[in-house]
């Protein structure tokens, strides 16, 4: 074990998992330092949940190794799991118990006892903003409140590493913001965070480093700046219009300076080298392919553009 590995909160090496025909995770390795927040950014089915389930010791990997705070972790390790707080993508709470009962139950499973656990439950209820509804059954909560309770359970034992699997999916903007704020706060307090999402904005806002995952492979990782630097002189062009979008995208991709073109909802995303020079050609190509262009925008290079650059596909389709 080298020094770097010793000082990391999480180290995983060569993770693989296959479900029958589907190879969900194909050799994923990454590392998280104490207090660091790390984002796994990838589209639906990229293998985020599978990776995270292995890391949390819920799923047996076919190959690879996970080390948490210096301890090897498998589904059978008990002690190593104490360092992790896990928040699953799908709600995992008892709807027929109150928030307080849910938390009191899990706090015992995390090994806190007596007075300490009651105090901690109260604290967590404050953090997730459910103190006033603490004694209502969870099934009576709004979607956002349930999500917050789901997260609260992962915070009970103040873990070294908090793992959140797409915690904002299906949440209204207000609750979403509240969730992002509390994650920022926790990571500000020195908790390491592993955060999966397919929202570029969340990864950019929350994460010190981001790993881009697609089809079970980690395509690239680094800080936002490092990843954007991968684009080189590439610019992202966002074109909206109506008509034969598919055909237009194909035709645009033929242009030398266009690296990738992908069709979105009434729009085409293009990754272009030296966009300002080539823009007129793109427009004529698009209209001769039968598209009426409504607007053209050149965007700041961002992680979505990086994803397009690395995979040839848009992050969201």
């Amino acid at each position: 074990m080298n020094r770097e590995q010793n000082s990391s909160v999480l180290h995983c090496e060569g993770l693989r998992k296959r479900f029958g025909e589907i190879e969900a995770v194909r050799g994923v390795s990454f590392e998280i330092a104490p207090g660091e927040s790390y984002g796994l950014l990838g589209p639906n089915g990229a293998g985020k949940t599978t990776t995270i389930s292995i890391v949390a010791g819920l799923l047996e990997a076919d190959a690879g190794e996970v080390t948490v705070a210096g301890n090897r972790l498998t589904t059978k390790s008990v002690a190593a799991k104490a360092a992790i707080g896990f928040v699953p993508q799908d709600l995992a709470i008892y709807p027929d118990l109150t928030a307080r009962e849910n938390l009191s139950f899990f706090v015992k499973l995390y090994g806190l006892r007596g007075k300490a656990n009651r105090a901690r439950v109260k604290e967590v209820l404050e953090i997730i903003g459910l103190s006033e509804r603490a004694d209502d059954q969870a099934k009576k909560y709004s979607g956002g409140m349930k999500r917050r309770l789901n997260i609260g359970i992962g915070l009970l034992h103040s873990p070294k590493l908090l793992i959140l699997d797409e915690p904002t999916v299906g949440v209204d903007p207000q609750s979403r913001n509240a969730i992002l704020e509390s994650v920022e706060q926790l990571s500000g307090q020195g908790m390491a965070v592993l955060y999966t999402t397919h929202y570029m904005e969340e990864a950019e806002r929350l994460c010190d480093r981001v790993g881009i995952i697609d089809r079970g492979e980690l395509k690239a990782e680094g800080t936002r700046e490092e990843l954007v630097a991968l684009l080189g002189e590439h610019d992202k062009v966002h074109l909206t219009g109506s008509g034969h979008l598919e055909a237009a995208a194909k035709a645009c991709a033929e242009i030398d300076a266009v690296e990738a073109a992908s069709v979105g909802q009434e729009s085409i995303e293009l990754l272009v080298e030296g966009a300002s020079a080539i823009l007129p050609e793109i427009l004529t190509t698009a209209s001769s392919a039968g598209v009426t262009v409504h607007s053209v925008e050149m965007e700041e290079p961002n992680l979505e553009a990086v994803f397009l650059h690395l995979t040839g596909r848009a992050l969201r389709d």
Binding site: L59, A80, K81, A92, Y94, D96, F105, F106, K108, G111
Partner: protein, 384 residues
């Protein structure tokens, strides 16, 4: 500690659902009540009209009522008694005339009227009636002799005879076939209570499969595995929770059948041991189904069918002693058959734990195998 937390949560959730309280406790009690009304009152009833409440008339009625399996019910007049017999409220009618006491004390003969429904109980009631009449008759004869030879009043002679009779040298006491105390009360219901207990405990423990699948679907079972708790603690908690619930149900059935129908449950250690291991077998089967099936729609009917078929084969619907020999052998692939055998020994034959140790061991083996399979399988579905 963690195990207890899981058990406590299971119990809290179970009893928070009104439907569970109904299925676990109220429904079995209702069925016991129903069966009790249908089969439980095994005593044959005989209606009586006493035109005048004399001492001797009352004595005859009391003697009759004390006969095993016979109860008396008094009616005001002949008309209502006849109607009651016709409609089958009572099996037979007895009319004691207004001069019953008077004529007997005067040394004269009396005739009593007796009529019965034309069914199989009529001859039995007749025998019971004749023996009651004979008992009173012999006392009257003896009193008449004392009266005429010692010159006492007839009343005091009769008192003297009755006093002597109370210390009669020959007595009959009923013992069970195995030599134990004959179960008083409970009667026919004695057997159905224990077989129903097995049927229900098994059925509702199997139904725990549906509950378990629900817990799996909620994701909480898996989430427990992300905490620093061993899968052994988690499995133990889940199994113990189901076990406690099944035992609570069994305890309710025992208690209320005793309270309402005076069912005797025999040696507490023997009966306790059988209920403990049998419930554990049932819980093991429930958890196994719950970890093999992927949906509640699948598990529900399977639990129901397995529960009823095992109960039928294992003698919880029709008693094992009515089975042909081969069927009785086959029956013993079910845990019910072993438990029913044990209850037979404990409840009808006055046996104790030492007489049923083999049944306890066999049931224990069932429990061990099922629980091992179930927890292995459950851990697998949660982590792959």
């Amino acid at each position: 500690m963690k195990v207890l937390a899981i058990v406590k949560t299971e119990l809290t959730r179970t009893f928070r659902w009104r439907a569970n309280i109904f299925f676990l406790l109220i429904m079995p009690m209702g069925l016991i009540l129903l069966l009790g009304v249908a089969f439980g009152n095994s005593a044959t009833r005989i209606g009586v009209v006493e035109k005048e409440k004399g001492q001797l008339a009352s004595q005859l009625v009391a003697t009759l009522g004390n006969q095993p399996g016979l109860d008396t019910k008094s009616y005001d007049n002949l008309g209502s008694l006849e109607r009651a017999v016709e409609r089958g409220y009572v099996s037979a009618g007895l009319v004691l005339g207004s001069n019953y006491d008077q004529r007997l004390q005067a040394g004269k003969a009396v005739t009593i009227r007796y009529f019965a429904r034309p069914d199989s109980t009529a001859p039995q009631i007749r025998v019971a009636l004749e023996s009651s009449v004979a008992a009173q008759g012999s006392a009257l004869v003896a009193a008449r002799i004392v009266h005429s030879e010692q010159g006492r009043s007839f009343k005091s002679a009769l008192r003297r005879v009755n006093a002597v009779k109370a210390t009669a040298p020959v007595g009959v006491s009923l013992l069970a076939a195995g030599g134990g105390k004959y179960p008083t009360g409970g009667g026919q219901f004695q057997q159905s209570a224990s077989t129903q207990l097995l049927l229900f405990a098994f059925l509702s423990a199997l139904n725990g499969a549906v509950w378990l699948i629900e817990t799996r679907r909620l994701g909480v079972a898996r989430r427990m595995l992300s905490t620093p708790s061993s899968s052994r603690e988690i499995m133990l908690g889940i199994v113990l929770g189901r076990w406690v619930i099944t035992l609570l149900q069994a305890a309710m059935i025992v208690f209320f059948s005793w309270l309402i129908f005076s069912v005797h449950w025999g040696d507490p250690f023997g009966t306790g041991a059988i209920i403990l291991v049998f419930s554990l077998v049932a819980v093991g089967a429930g958890v196994l189904i719950g970890s093999l099936c992927s949906s509640a729609q699948q598990a529900g009917p399977i639990a129901m069918i397995v529960g009823l078929v095992f109960a039928a084969i294992g003698g919880s619907m029709e008693p094992l002693q009515y089975f042909p020999a081969t069927m009785r052998k086959i029956a013993h692939i079910t845990p019910h058959a072993w438990a029913n055998d044990a209850f037979g020994t404990l409840l009808s034959n006055g046996g104790n734990l030492a007489n049923v140790w083999l049944d306890v061991v066999v049931l224990g083996a069932y429990a061990a195998v099922l629980l091992t399979l179930a927890t292995w399988r459950l851990r697998r579905v949660l982590t792959t």
